[in-house]
């Protein structure tokens, strides 16, 4: 991509992010009544405490000023104090973030690993029983409520067969010192293969539950892109050259079909961000999604605001990455 276009696209993100920050900022004004009083709830607080909390949250200043303070602080990574945890919001969030990233990446890997081979196979064997099964399967995949499917998986694999753990991230005996926060990486650093395996076992069901709807969508995209590509002249020409079927499908067709599939995969990673709230709740996964849900019930508004902003910014970044990937993969655009 020419530098000018790249810069133009980056600049285009600024108004979008500004708009996002305004919406997130305004969210708190939707609370029925005074947020500070709601946050304090039944707890007895002296008027001084209420006043100091008000000052902390900047509620004593005009809205426009408050917005600019909010944005400048947010850019610096400062989202105020988590009243509930008695620590900075950013510290609480960054502690939970690695678990969510780990789960999301695992889910995406499962989705890609399932969807691309299945999509290719369904396209190559179009209108066969295998194609039908894959198509029906993808319809189920997008229609399954994740929270319910997760429960079914728990009932079957953890309760009935007892081959996988019910919930959580790591058994107590398996704890390893947190270096990166990513349990898989940390257990490798600690040289604990038993812990590594244990994390994988804990990760299996939630990652599969989270990845399934994305796998379904990605499978459909791969299948239809592949069907389209297999009709192309260059496939006929590749056949006329006497190339093997494996090379024609695996290189000539797939390289072209992957262009739309990969950008959809990047977009779907963004969609997973929403899903992990539900999945983390079902599987007791100690990530950001569950933190948000907990914080809602604890009326921890600053944390919810910060998390929503973080999710939205990540989503924008992933969309941007999808855009970039599309251009990188497509030699015709790259020129």
């Amino acid at each position: 991509m020419p530098i000018a276009r790249f810069v133009e696209r980056i600049l285009h993100l600024i108004p979008v992010l500004a708009g996002v920050s305004v919406i997130v900022f305004l969210m708190i004004s939707l609370t029925p009544g005074d947020p500070v009083e709601i946050m304090l709830g039944d707890q007895r607080a002296t008027p001084e405490q209420v006043a100091s909390m008000r000052r902390d949250m900047g509620l004593d200043r005009p809205a426009v000023e408050r917005y600019f303070v909010f944005v400048t602080n947010a850019i610096r990574g400062d989202f105020g104090q988590s009243f509930f945890h008695r620590r900075p919001v950013s510290a609480v969030i960054s502690e939970r973030l690695p678990a969510t990233i780990e789960l999301t990446v695992a889910a995406m890997l499962i989705a890609i690993g399932l969807a691309i081979p299945l999509g290719v196979l369904a396209a190559v064997r179009r209108d066969t029983i295998l194609d039908r099964i894959a198509t029906v399967g993808s319809l189920f995949g997008v229609s399954l409520p994740g929270f319910w499917f997760g429960i079914l998986l728990i009932l079957f694999f953890a309760v009935q067969l007892q081959i996988l753990p019910v919930a959580g991230r790591l058994g107590y005996a398996m704890e390893v010192p947190a270096v990166t926060g990513f349990a898989l990486v940390d257990s490798l650093i600690a040289g604990r293969m038993d812990s590594f395996w244990e994390v994988l076992r804990h990760l299996a069901l939630p990652a599969f539950t989270l990845g399934l709807p994305s796998a379904a969508i990605l499978m459909r995209v791969t299948r239809s892109a592949m069907i389209e590509v297999l009709r192309a002249d260059y496939i006929t020409f590749a056949e006329a050259k006497g190339l093997s079927r494996a090379r024609i499908i695996g290189l000539h067709a797939l390289k072209n079909a992957l262009i739309p599939a990969v950008s959809v995969a990047a977009l779907e990673t963004g969609t997973l961000l929403g899903g992990n709230m539900v999945v983390e709740t079902v599987f007791g996964w100690p990530g950001l999604g569950r933190l948000v849900v907990e914080s809602i019930f604890a009326r921890n508004y600053p944390l919810v605001q910060a998390a929503v902003l973080l999710y939205a910014v990540t989503y924008v970044a992933l969309n941007f990455a999808a855009d970039l990937l599309y251009t990188v993969l497509n030699p015709r655009v790259r020129l």
Binding site: M27, L30, L139, R220, T271
Partner: protein, 291 residues
């Protein structure tokens, strides 16, 4: 096919839709759920909030300890699951319809305005749409529900705020294309008013993509409602909602699997049916979007 020569395209499309057997089956499931929702107070064997701790976690009728008075068993408070399922259909269907109707209405007006008038209106609306699309859907809804608190009213608003963007983008695109069609240009040349062109010339011609979007989105909205209710941010007890019923049953997974799994099955059946039916509907009515 003998009568094909005299049938209208719409009748032809209906016939095409009816030939799709899985779409017809799916439509039947939707009709059953809708009827259950409408006539809930008359067909439900028990009241939604009829608790009796003696019946706590009573299994479905076909299992040991079950009885046909409570065919699908009872939940943790001894309430009849079938009755709650029937009343829960009201929440799913009414939220689905309400949100989609409002969102499609707003989206259509905004889309026609942006697509036909262009200029500042288009820039502002498109920017707003882009900003709203920057939020993952569920996160946006959760954020709003976190602030406004649970309840039917807030739930509908939280979903509509983000949902209208979907139909807005479709309608805007279709309007931009319809603008260039001869009869629209002819109407413009004849001096028809903007409002007339937008509502009488363009709107009738882009109705079928609007309907297609509406039906597809219904599945998404129902799923979101279920997810929010599962998280405890949707409809509140004692009103029955399928998502909340799944959440309630999680506490008894080991002793009473039916409390959680049966309502989930209902969500799957409804969402799957809407997806299958809307696909059949789209294939029949909008051949351009055929997969």
């Amino acid at each position: 096919m003998s009568a094909a020569a005299v049938t209208s395209p719409t009748a032809f499309a209906w016939r095409r839709a009816l030939r799709n057997r899985s779409a017809v089956g799916a439509a039947a499931v939707i009709v059953v759920v809708a009827l259950a929702a409408i006539f809930a107070p008359w067909i439900a064997p028990h009241a939604v909030d009829d608790t009796d701790l003696l019946r706590r976690l009573q299994p479905p009728a076909w299992m040991d300890g079950g009885e046909w008075a409570f065919p699908l068993g009872c939940d943790g408070l001894g309430r009849d699951i079938l009755s709650r399922l029937i009343f829960g259909a009201r929440v799913s269907i009414s939220i689905g319809l309400l949100v989609v109707a409002l969102a499609v209405g707003i989206g259509t007006i905004a889309g026609l305005t942006a697509g036909y008038l262009r200029g500042t209106a288009d820039t502002l609306l498109s920017r707003l749409a882009e900003i709203l699309l920057a939020f993952p859907y569920l996160i946006f809804a959760v954020g709003l529900m976190a602030m406004t608190g649970p309840g039917l009213h807030n739930l509908v608003l939280a979903l509509v705020y983000r949902e209208w963007v979907v139909s807005f983008r479709v309608v805007r695109g279709e309007t931009l294309a319809a603008r260039e069609i001869e009869y629209v240009e002819a109407a413009r040349a004849l001096g028809a008013s903007r409002l007339h062109i937008m509502t009488r010339e363009i709107l009738p011609n882009i109705l079928s993509p609007i309907l297609v979007v509406g039906t597809v989105r219904m599945a998404t909205v129902i799923m979101l409602e279920a997810s929010l209710s599962f998280l405890g941010l949707g409809v509140q007890s004692p009103t029955a909602s399928w998502g909340a019923m799944v959440a309630d049953g999680r506490d008894f997974l080991l002793d009473a699997w039916w409390v959680s799994t049966i309502p989930g099955l209902a969500i799957l059946a409804l969402v799957l049916s809407i997806n299958v039916a809307s696909q059949g509907f789209r294939d029949a009515f909008d051949p351009r979007m055929r997969t």
